[in-house]
Symmetry: C2
Subunit: 299 residues, 2 copies
Amino acid sequence: MSGFDIHAYLDRGRRLVDAALDRLLPPETAQPPALHKAMRYSIFAGGKRLRPLLAMAAAEAVGAQPETVLDEACSLELIHTYTLIHDDLPAMDNDDFRRGMPTSHKVFGEAMAILAGDALQTQAFGLLARAYTLGRHSPERLVQVSGMLADACGSQGVIGGQVVDIESEGSSVSLETLDYIHAHKTGKLIHAAVMLGAILGGATPARQQALACYGKAIGLAFQITDDILDVVSTTEQLGKTVGKDAQAGKATYPGLLGMDEARRMQLHYLALSLAALDGYDEKAEPLRAIGRVIVERNN
Amino acid sequence: MSGFDIHAYLDRGRRLVDAALDRLLPPETAQPPALHKAMRYSIFAGGKRLRPLLAMAAAEAVGAQPETVLDEACSLELIHTYTLIHDDLPAMDNDDFRRGMPTSHKVFGEAMAILAGDALQTQAFGLLARAYTLGRHSPERLVQVSGMLADACGSQGVIGGQVVDIESEGSSVSLETLDYIHAHKTGKLIHAAVMLGAILGGATPARQQALACYGKAIGLAFQITDDILDVVSTTEQLGKTVGKDAQAGKATYPGLLGMDEARRMQLHYLALSLAALDGYDEKAEPLRAIGRVIVERNN
């Protein structure tokens, strides 16, 4: 679509998401202040807001106003941030920096980091329920989204992926295991983001199906891109230690398949995601453009 | 009510809850097995199932069959267990034993304990959503319960209580702060248990109000009893190190008010909880009896 500026679209969306998160999270002065300060610190540590933006773009693709799912889309950012806080803990990946800033446990201590992550997860589900009290969405759709999100980020979703990732560290990993880790640790929540927008946007089952295909493909493209960036990017661009995955003995697609094959897969999944949107009109242009941005980003 | 045997009632209820938890949790063989093993280990480490039993008794009090809220009541046990796993972590209370068994991080390591706790929380909300798919409850009631549970166990509920508890360790604590810790860390989830049963059992707003009073009072009676037991019980009865709270410099009601005043408060809150049920008939007898058991227990 000529004239569509994806970067302006994403900037505007990010401002909306940031404002909504600021409005939805308890203030730093709420009791206990240290906890709410820790929750806000990680939420406002410079995320790209990809998941809420995907949800809003998916809602738009099925004919809804993106703002109608804005608050509910924030639940995805709460979940994403909680998993990052916990993944960074000394007992897990032991990362001191994230997006160029000290990680939660470095600033607030381990206990508070664990509890801030816990509370962000709780609030994600609380947000969805609150949308009923506020009359924003029907209880049928909200409970459907809540269940879908729980499946995506539970023991057979994101958390399962993180477990296998940790178990695989330092040992040689098969392509099958790498696929499992990526599909679960990263892919499930990206897929859930698209589905949240689709369901709350009122998509028919057939249209939900097409968006599910888009969501799965774009989740894989995203993770392959992450792996490639870990190899080729500079520390400054990523805001975290580069080559850390390789140093930690973590499997990556370029490491397992070579860089050429990784790049080929990256483009393959982008093409798949775009093909899934074949039946969609220009209202799906933001979704298409986000797909392209995902594989073209440099951080 | 003559002839009502609360201990037989609780035994039967516990067996129902245990069977439901076994049915609702993914099997140990589900991928990734180590995670599901850790989740099941803590869930089946000998809990009293007080919170699900309270929910079932509350549903019964408002005229529903307790079994109709059995699966949903299990979400309370998942939440309770997740908070115990995280509270026991080295970064928090650093407890090696719980209910006479090694704590999760002692058996599975810290990373797995954190993730098992995370996944149990996720599943609690997933369970409630699944009840809609299964046609067990209306989406209106389920989304209301989900929001109520999120409020109860979020940053201004259970997690907030745990934060203030940790912050207060080793310093002199006012009665106001101790009330805050107990009302949040323990009271909120016990209150939520009663309300889950009330809402899913179809209680009118007026009856919900009475049960809310019962829930608040019984939550306080429970925590005061816990504090008293920490002073007077033996290690064998409690299954954890006795006097640990006092050693850790944690404030307790007997420590702050003296044992006599603590016992007086314990009976005061039991009386309050029973008074809240004045308008209820014999179907509330299990709720009344659970209140009495809570203050008379020795572990």
